[in-house]
Subunit: 438 residues, 2 copies
Amino acid sequence: LMQEKIDLFRAEFLELHPYDQARIFEEQEKNVRLLIYSYLAPQEMAEVMEQVDSDRVVDIIGEMLPEFAAKVLEEMAIDDAVDILNDLDDKNMVASFLTVMSKDASEQIKKLLHYEEKTAGSIMTTEYVVIREDMTVKEAMKHLRKEAPGAETIYYLYVVNVDKKLVGVISLRDLIIAEGDFLIKEVMSERVVSVPAGEDQEEVAQMMRDYDFLALPVVDFQEHLLGIITVDDIMDVMEEEASDDYSKLAGFSDVEKLNDTAIASAKKRLPWLIILLFLGMFTASIIGRFEETLDQVAILAVFIPLIAGMAGNTGTQALAVAVRNLSASSSNEKINTKRIIWEEAKTGVITGTCCGILITLIVAFWYKDIYLGGLVGISIMATLVVATIAGAFVPLVMHRLKIDPAVASGPFITTLNDIISILIYFSLATTFMGLLTN
Amino acid sequence: LMQEKIDLFRAEFLELHPYDQARIFEEQEKNVRLLIYSYLAPQEMAEVMEQVDSDRVVDIIGEMLPEFAAKVLEEMAIDDAVDILNDLDDKNMVASFLTVMSKDASEQIKKLLHYEEKTAGSIMTTEYVVIREDMTVKEAMKHLRKEAPGAETIYYLYVVNVDKKLVGVISLRDLIIAEGDFLIKEVMSERVVSVPAGEDQEEVAQMMRDYDFLALPVVDFQEHLLGIITVDDIMDVMEEEASDDYSKLAGFSDVEKLNDTAIASAKKRLPWLIILLFLGMFTASIIGRFEETLDQVAILAVFIPLIAGMAGNTGTQALAVAVRNLSASSSNEKINTKRIIWEEAKTGVITGTCCGILITLIVAFWYKDIYLGGLVGISIMATLVVATIAGAFVPLVMHRLKIDPAVASGPFITTLNDIISILIYFSLATTFMGLLTN
């Protein structure tokens, strides 16, 4: 691909979309990457870096000469550069990059480095076009032409008054259609929706999706415009949050990648597995207490996985519904906890009754023992009711306590419901022992 | 809120963003909604309808007078109108709406009704601005001003040649910056990325997210431009697909809503629960075969939920990683099945060895029986290895067979692994029975 033919490489590589450039770049060996740095201008490399996988971006910045890296960061979209600097563990390196950069760039970056992760402030950019309400349409268009090359989006223009407070918005579409001599304040929309810098990024994503915005302004407590969030960043947030919820339901705290090594994967999974191992030992110790019952009616053991499994499955269903709907409802909607629990209880009674009757019939015929059938059936019924309620109750309580309900992952609910189901099953079995040993 | 004060209602209601209008509208009783139809013009109602929850939109269209409904559909964004018509079960109603509409609108809609659900064709819109390559920048801007009000987005302009084939794209940003006398073909980018109409919507979403597009053109096999897909529709697709994957992992085929009744919820969950019940009976029958072993060493039953639970949890983890990464990798990336399985096997060996040793020690001390400890430990180890591989193997095979791997939901893998783990455990126990009964 490369050898010494710089011109040929540049001609072919720069023809590609930055996303494809990044894919090719990532596939190269380290020594080839080092060559690429010397072939590309900082600005060209910046476009590639914006598309490099976020897991590798920190390593790659570390490979570059510090001065080149600083220039690349300066040329990148400011929000992407800030993400990288936030991910760098070596804070001396961050400081040295900032000193090499132009004063203007380093000051803008410093401002953005303040914001907490996963807030509106942390994903916003300061590269946007702002116009004043007393400009005419013509002046605004002229201003726009000048500012457009450096801005991340120009399709929504935010309007401020003399105090730099956000007072309106006009889309480029409306600006183009408007007559040249009108004042911006006459043609802009005053229905401007904004978010405070501390807003959670998931809420911001929800809002942009609901309102079909391409950009959303971020303001401080005095309604001063601080920056804007663009839809491409929101798509990444949505993907990230969905992966996050999904991973938690499956039972790990950290999202895994296909290219993780086995040891890295094992490290992420082991903590959960060990916690579950101890919870499982607790379940085992409960069964241990009923050893006497088991000794007398060994057949009881046969149905343990069936009952525990059904409890786990129904609990996970209820959990998923609750978590999904909690994260889909915006924060200003009230969650009617009582009503949800009540509906889940009814759902549990219906599913429990159906499954209970079915299993009673199957076991009664199979083992020719109506009492055993009844025991298993009633256990399944009671288990399903309790497990369904537990599956919905745990995330709702967490939501109330302002804990992310997705933390109540599937395996946790499953194990909790294992314990509940086994308690129900063996308690019933011990109580009605007389009937079973006939 | 309403009474007879039409003007006041209109003044206040129309001030709101359509998303908020829709929320208010949905909360009203049916008779209030009927009043609203008479207060609003079809165009105003169309904006509300575009934001109404997709589950309710069909009922609401049914409430309107057919003629009003047809006008509202005509005024809506064409892709949204097509979605509604696709959801209507009563095909006579669809036909009657189409006859009432203007010929132009009904023909455009008919074209879009052809496309299969969840393809690029089904989510695209035909309301876009197209320019010819031989226009000058000035002519293009004039054309744009004229067409802008009816278009869904004007921020990317697609360029066609005399044969109506897609040959380029220019962003409005670049158009505004360009000099007026240049020809479009001199300033446009020829690096235009398009998708065929039959492309899966998930692939389209992935592409828009990767390339940070605000719109993507859809073409037929001869590269003729058919329509465009805008980013707001893609955000809905992303949300839908994420909900879908999540629901499947939790074990149901249909996404549930918080406002579903208990009976509706139960209906969606019962099919899965009953399948799992039968799978659970199968597990039970396997344990039944080892009844003799159980009769002799009742304590074995104590560890059934622990071993089955661990198998289920580790399998779900492996499953989630595989499904998530399969759906995140675009179709042109090759999935190296062997490598993934091999990595998962190694992960399984590491986690299995750690958990196995831990549980051996715990059980050996607790029950003062080194053989029992060893049996449970070795079972856990073997189970974790097999369950991890199974968790990754099943979705990968499904992917190969072109079945959506997310169908291999959590409960299915869990139950499969229950069976495997119990077979391993009891086979080992029966083999080494001599040591346990000492």
